[in-house]
């Protein structure tokens, strides 16, 4: 195995390792922590063999294809910058795991519980039983709940470590990505996992909102980053960093440079909480302190500045970069420092100081000189170390005191001198006190502000600004030290503070030792790593710089002294300053965010409801408008049609038929509110259409149309029995006008289209059907042969539709109860005689005769008008008459009971003949036909398609019966009141 293949292995084992704590946690808290630590240590071990090469300045790259067509590959890179971050992530991660083991609740439960009263140790809470609940349920549930609670705690710690590892894995992915798209992938995974970590105390509203806010800001930024990276890849021609970093020149000159840069910076700034996207970070302090220490100081928020460093060679070097990055960094630096100074919450102070330091780092990258980049990278290291230790110290204070309110927490030095000392050292580092690591990078910053090329005219401006920022940092650091560990006695603390457990303090000790080591022996401790990292960030030879505690009494040193003195003075003046600050209006980000979200939601709600009023009438009107517009545009934008064909002359009969049709259609429409009348008028239309089919040489169509129409009328009447007999006049005038306009538009459109179509010649393939009907299909009725043979597959689908109508009749109307009206629309009671004698008597001999007719129509369909549909409908109608004449009690028992089976039989006859052709190696539905000579009878023509038609017949009959039987049964469930005039 080559060395570079360790890179994907590191990331992969981190991701897979996520599961280990969740699995081990059930064996105890310690096992979970151990598992997490083990995974991190394992990753470190995998990393170790690569370190020497990287420190020597090499960039290790390896790639595996993932989605190569789109430039997304599993390409990894380890260079100085990546190594630096890996060490931070894994090193601080290990410390956080240890710290969290003590910090997170175990022996004593601080987690609120779904139940209102927290009840530790699996004892059923007395308050629950007092509630007026179903006692039987209560007994079982209560015990169950508490058991669940215990396991929840185990699970939760396991889950915590799992999420922490997930986050760590994603972070490793970010810093080890060679492929920019892959970087985006990991980037967003850090957003997701931090969402879950911030919401760790999910019972608290603030936690949930903070988590969603963080996700919205950082995840949204990630989307911008994705867009930016896609543009960058487009500009550079590759998503591989090796290529992109070498293309800085071309990238800066590209026309898409500005949008690309802005999008990428959006990603970086949101992640690193730069103003004005900073607000999520203080709220994210709702997370447990280990999370804050890890994510919000050392790692995740550093992803943004990591990206600035990472892409510096490709993106920096333009005015836009300078102004955007340094501007945003500068504003953030000062604004956040000012805010930090005024916080009462210990973690709030640290959060804003983090933002401020991130601003500083951003500013350094924005200043865009080689040395400022070095300083930026250096400050990343230093800030991570001292801020992580400060968060942990704050966590200890919180843990021991039960509160982090600096107005109550005072004088802790007495109670926890060791922790206090450690925190003081770390805070001093944050303030930039000499001999500590924070001092070194801050002095580099001051140095860079002196004589920056851009500010030739006002060379005093930048140093002044830097000093001011330094003063503020000193001020809030002083406050952290003085307000917590001195400043009198604690006020009304929930707990009696004392030193934390030994090993809980250990991580802080380690980090503070690092502060000192780096601060005093920088050349020896950090220089190689810094050199490699800065070199990777610059992708150029390092500038000359010297890591030393003492550079002589120069301007930067003076600035440091001024900042220290000024900061302490500021702190001394804190009381009037705080009073002044308290008078300023304060904005609570989570409330504002929630308000914004609610506003957005209600806006969405009103837009959606405004567009979609749940009215079918509107849907249909929109559909018609859409079709008319699209169709109108498509038609009119084409060349005008050339009418070439000779017209068929219209005769008097045609005009008479048209007049009749118009009477029928208009009558049905205008009188539609009298429903029965409308049915009668609509039947006239059906009659005319059938006649037209006959006239235009389509006898089969006429037959089908007539048969279908009568069944439809029967169905309409069956339904009308239950429906209101009249339609209320409820449509407004404008509505009617709108609908009339749409109707006229649709009618005119289709009429015009049909005229244009009918009067233009066209070439058709239909000659084939006429030519092949007899020789190929064995039938003289070309229409029927098309139906059962040439396009038999359509017919199979069609009877499948019909079969489903039958099934749906069962499914829809089963057990449905409808109340039938006892009177007709004019208020008359119904006639007393249920089954008119005349009708029932006559229908009895008529049934066999009608069946004979339908058999006739079925058989001859292949050669003459007719066929399975019409025959089926004739049979169906004949049976309908039995229902009509003698009622359901008479007809139902005399008809086959298993209608679903009949349907299956019909479909099988049709489909089975199709499948039978397989036996002869022919495609589905291949028909066979031939002549059979029978004695006495002579020659008859037989086609397998006739069996197909028989299947059609069976399905049609069955469906008609199923629908009628179901509709006929409806009244059975209604009121018995409906029994005629006697009632």
């Amino acid at each position: 195995m080559s060395e570079t293949s360790l890179l994907p292995l590191i990331v992969a084992s981190a991701f897979i390792g996520c599961l280990i704590p969740a699995l081990l946690a059930r064996f105890g808290r310690g096992m979970g922590a151990l598992g997490a630590a083990g995974v991190m240590a394992g990753c470190l071990a995998l990393l170790a063999p690569l370190i020497p090469a990287v420190l020597a300045g090499e960039a290790l790259v390896t790639a595996y294809a993932w989605l190569p067509g789109y430039g997304l590959d599993l390409a990894f890179r380890l260079d100085g910058l990546g190594l630096l971050f890996c060490l931070l992530i894994l090193g601080i991660g290990l410390l956080v795991v240890l710290y969290a083991y003590y910090y997170l609740p175990g022996g004593h439960v601080r987690l609120p519980h779904p139940n209102p009263l927290p009840h530790p140790q699996g004892v059923s809470p007395p308050g629950l039983a007092a509630k007026p609940l179903n006692p039987a349920r209560q007994a079982g549930e209560g015990a169950n709940e508490s058991l669940r609670e215990i396991s929840n705690h185990g699970d939760r710690l396991g889950r915590f470590y799992t999420l922490l590892l997930l986050f760590m894995a994603a972070m490793l992915g970010v810093v080890l990505s060679e492929n920019l798209l892959l970087l985006v992938v990991f980037w967003e995974v850090t957003s997701i996992s931090s969402f879950l970590l911030i919401a760790y105390k999910r019972e608290q509203r603030e936690s949930r909102i903070a988590a969603r806010m963080a996700l919205a800001v950082t995840g949204g930024g990630g989307l911008a980053l994705l867009a930016g990276v896609l543009l960058l890849g487009h500009i550079a021609g590759s998503y591989e960093l090796s290529v992109v970093l070498a293309e800085g020149e071309r990238i800066r000159e590209h026309s898409l440079y500005a949008p690309m840069l802005i999008l990428i910076l959006l990603g970086a700034f949101t992640k690193s909480a730069q103003f004005p996207f900073h607000f999520w970070l203080p709220n994210a302090m709702a997370a447990p302190t280990p999370v804050s220490a890890y994510l919000h100081s050392a790692t995740m928020v550093k992803a943004g500045v990591f990206l600035l460093a990472r892409l510096h060679p490709a993106l920096a070097g333009s005015g836009l970069w300078f102004w955007l990055v340094s501007g945003v960094g500068a504003v953030t630096l000062v604004y956040a420092a000012y805010t930090a100074f005024h916080r009462y919450d210990l973690k709030g102070l640290l959060a804003y100081s983090t933002i401020s330091h991130l601003g500083l780092i951003t500013l350094l990258f924005g200043l865009d000189t080689p040395l400022s980049v070095v300083a930026g990278v250096f400050h990343i290291i230093n800030h991570a170390i001292f801020k992580a230790s400060l968060f942990m110290a704050a966590g200890i204070v919180d843990h021991e005191c039960g509160t982090r309110d600096m107005r109550r927490v005072n004088g802790l030095f007495k109670f926890m001198p060791i922790t206090a000392t450690l925190a003081i050292v770390a805070a001093a580092s944050m303030a930039g006190v000499p001999l500590l690591n924070g001092f070194l990078s801050k002095e580099m910053f001051f140095t860079e502000t002196v004589g920056h090329p851009v500010f030739e005219e006002m060379r005093w401006l930048l140093p002044l600004f830097a000093t001011l920022a330094g003063m503020l940092a000193v001020a809030y650091s002083s406050r952290f030290i003085h307000d917590v560990f001195f400043n009198g006695d604690p006020i009304d603390l929930p707990r009696q503070p004392h030193e934390p457990p030994r090993w809980m303090r250990a991580p802080v000790e380690v980090l503070v030792v690092l502060c000192l080591l780096v601060g005093i022996f920088p050349q020896w401790s950090v220089a190689p790593l810094l050199g490699a990292a800065a070199g990777a960030a610059l992708q150029a030879p390092l500038p000359a710089f010297e890591l030393a505690v003492w550079h002589g009494f120069n301007l930067p040193f003076v600035m440091s002294l001024v900042a220290l003195a000024g900061g302490i003075t500021l702190y001394a003046l804190r009381k009037p300053l705080f009073a002044l600050h308290d008078r300023l209006p304060s904005v609570h980000a989570h409330i504002a965010f929630e308000r914004f979200y609610e506003g957005l939601t209600s806006l969405a709600h009103s837009i959606v409801n405004w567009l979609d009023n749940s009215s079918l009438q509107r849907y249909l009107a929109l559909f018609i408008v859409f079709v008319l517009s699209l169709g109108g545009w498509a038609w009119l934008s084409g060349p005008p049609a050339v009418a070439a064909a000779a017209y068929q002359p219209a005769d008097a009969a045609a005009f008479a038929a048209l007049a009749t049709l118009i009477v029928g259609a208009l009558g049905a429409t205008l009188l539609h509110r009298q429903r029965l009348t409308a049915i009668v008028f609509a039947s006239v239309v059906g009659l005319v259409v059938a006649l037209a089919f006959v006239r235009f040489s389509a006898p089969d169509l006429a037959l089908t149309q007539l048969a279908v129409e009568v069944v439809t009328i029967v169905l309409l009447l069956l339904a009308l029995h239950y429906l209101p007999q009249t339609t209320p006049a409820e449509d407004s005038g404008p509505r009617l006008a709108r609908d009339a306009a749409l109707a006229v538009g649709a009618g005119a459109g289709l009429g015009a289209a049909s005229f244009a179509m009918m009067t233009s010649p066209f070439e058709t393939i239909s000659g084939f059907y006429l030519a092949q009907s007899l020789p190929g299909g064995g039938g003289a009725n070309a229409v029927n042969v098309i139906l059962v043979d040439f396009r038999g597959f359509d017919t199979l689908g069609e009877i499948t539709v019909l079969a489903m109508v039958g099934l749906a009749a069962h499914a829809l109307l089963d057990r449905l109860a409808l109340t039938a009206p006892g009177r007709d629309s004019d208020g008359r009671p119904w006639a007393r005689e249920r089954h008119p004698l005349f009708l029932s008597m006559l229908m009895r001999p008529l049934l066999p005769l009608a069946l004979a007719v339908s058999v006739f129509i079925l058989l001859r369909g292949h050669n003459l008008p007719g066929g399975g549909f019409v025959a089926g409908l004739v049979t169906g109608v004949a049976l309908v008459l039995q229902y009509l004449a003698s009622g359901i009690d008479f007809a139902q028992p005399r008809l086959p009971r298993h209608k679903a089976k009949l349907l299956a039989l019909g479909l099988l006859l049709a489909g089975g003949t199709g499948a039978a052709s397989w036996l002869f190696g022919r495609p589905f539905l291949t028909s066979a036909h031939g002549h059979a000579a029978l004695p006495l009878i002579g020659e008859i023509e037989l086609a397998s398609a006739m069996v197909f038609d028989l299947g059609v017949y069976v399905v049609v009959v069955t469906v008609v019966l199923m629908v009628l039987a179901q509709l006929g049964r409806l009244s059975r469930h209604g009121f018995p009141e409906k029994c005629g005039e006697a009632a």
Partner: protein
Amino acid sequence: MSIVTEFTVSALILLGAVFALLGSVGLARLPDFFTRLHGPTKATTLGVGAMVLASALYFSATQPGFSLHEITVMVFLFITAPVTAHLLAKAALHRRGAKRREELK
């Protein structure tokens, strides 16, 4: 087709058309539903019957073999016409009677 056949067919057609028309005239003209019922029930049925007969005769004469299937239409009409009339009359009677009874209440 012989002249005799042609004449017979033509006569049947005209006779049928006249009867059918008279039936419809009755439907349009007569004063109340029950009197209107008579025209279609009888005259129209007979008229169409005559035409169907003409058709049977015509096709028997002009095409090989007999053309009997038209007869089925005629027979069907004669079977169903009374039923139609009967039920329509029943319905009309019911609608009036029921209304009248309602008014009395």
